[in-house]
Amino acid sequence: MNPINDLLNIIGGFIAGIINSIFSFSPFLADAITMGLAAIILCTFAALSFMGLTYAERKVVARIQDRVGPNQAGPLGLLQPIADGIKMFTKEDTTPAAADRWVYNLAPLVIAVFALTTYAVLPFAPGVVGTNLNIGVFYVLAIGSGSIVAIIMAGWGSNNKYALLGAFRTVAQLVGYEVPMLLNVLPVVMLAGSMGLIDIIDHQTLANGNAGIPFLLFFPLSAVVFLISGIAETARSPFDLLEAESEIVAGFHVEYSGMKFALFFLGEYVNALAVAFVFSTLFLGGFAGPILPPYIWLLLKAGAVFTIFMWLRGTLPRVRIDQMHNLNWKFFVPLSIVHLILVIILLKVFVTSPAQQAATGGILVDAWVQAAIMFVASALTLIAGLGLAARRARISRLAEEDVLARRRAENMATAGAA
């Protein structure tokens, strides 16, 4: 219980102690209040991170595009998020005349609530977690897919053609990119033997006998595909077809303004940060790290993943809608399935514990060697997949060129004849 590493546990225990002593007459009330307080702390942490992220994002993206970014409000523009907040609070909130009042007002609330509930399961330090569900990872993915209905509510509620079209495009994208996310979490769960996020992190730490290898080294393909579909899942950077198309002016939140619009943005950023946390928990070993206290490690890893998001946002152009669907259904999903089958076979052939070898008779191999084999196999499938895709692209490009050449020849012939 050295003070720095378990700072959060100590503070948590301290506050819980105070509450229990105040409400000692009914332990049930005391638990309810501590749980409520923990939930409020998590929500405020998420909301504050939203403000910090908007500022950091605008600064970094500006720096990438060789401009300065917000620096007027306060020193170094640090008060910019607060200025945005005030603007969002005081801006007028119009609801379209024929809007479906109930659905229209409920949609932003539902999106924000869904974004925040993923934080209930994320472990910030050993023992510091909202609720340690033994179905942690499955819960996070289900909540991700639950927010799809909220987007349809927003699209339909504002009774506006473009909002409806934008909502369906976004839903088609989200529904599509949910599949590779589901398929690429499976290898991690197979290796860790449980869906709980705490167990997954334990498997990546040196604790109780398993070598502390982050799962990124086991399954690079899963990590890459999970990250890209995570970006597409929150409709960010290269995949933000939400407000991109000319005819879908601002996607499904075209009719919202003021605080309701801010809730949509809060939902987007909090979801993006949640994807960053989940990625670092699943593939980078969560709060496991040698010297620094655990929660600092987690923030560092999540920050690194979020900088990748920001970097992609600053550099990559927007993806066309059919490219986006083709990338998902014709490349990520088949690749993930083939990779899953390969992982299943390899995890049975190369076994680390003698007990397993006795049961299923694989080749006994040290954890690091198993990691190396898995890494090579995973990287090979990725390269093979990319090669195959490149070859198919070349074939279709050549075919297109033939068609163009023939058409040009015909035009020349008719022009010549005329």
Partner: protein
């Protein structure tokens, strides 16, 4: 957790609705359509492409829900069970290939 998140967001929404000015004018209430009058009702020619993609998503959603418990029990699976598992994944791969062949995955 869900309840507190909802409460917190609800409080911010209500606080916001109190703070902001209440000046609804006829012009502001029109739905936004690049400034022009809205043409026709909200009904929009809805392509069946969205529905077909949702169908293929249902296949893989079910596969994931069935695969997660098996992934948890993976370490103790004998070889015969692993073969069944691979058979299950191949069956659902056929569903994807059929949809691909049928052009359901193309997005013109």
């Amino acid at each position: 957790m869900i309840v507190t998140a909802a409460l917190l967001m609800g409080v911010t929404l209500i606080a916001a609705s109190l703070l902001r000015p209440k000046k609804p004018s006829k012009a502001k209430l029109e739905t936004y359509e690049c400034g022009m009058e809205t043409v026709g009702d909200t009904w929009v020619q809805f392509r069946v492409q969205y529905y077909v993609l949702a169908l293929v998503f249902v296949v893989f959603d079910i596969e994931a829900v069935l695969l997660f418990p098996i992934a948890v029990a993976f370490n103790a699976l004998p070889w015969l069970a692993v073969i069944n598992l691979i058979l299950f994944i191949l069956i659902l791969l056929i569903a994807l290939l059929y949809a691909w062949r049928k052009g359901a995955l193309d997005w013109e």
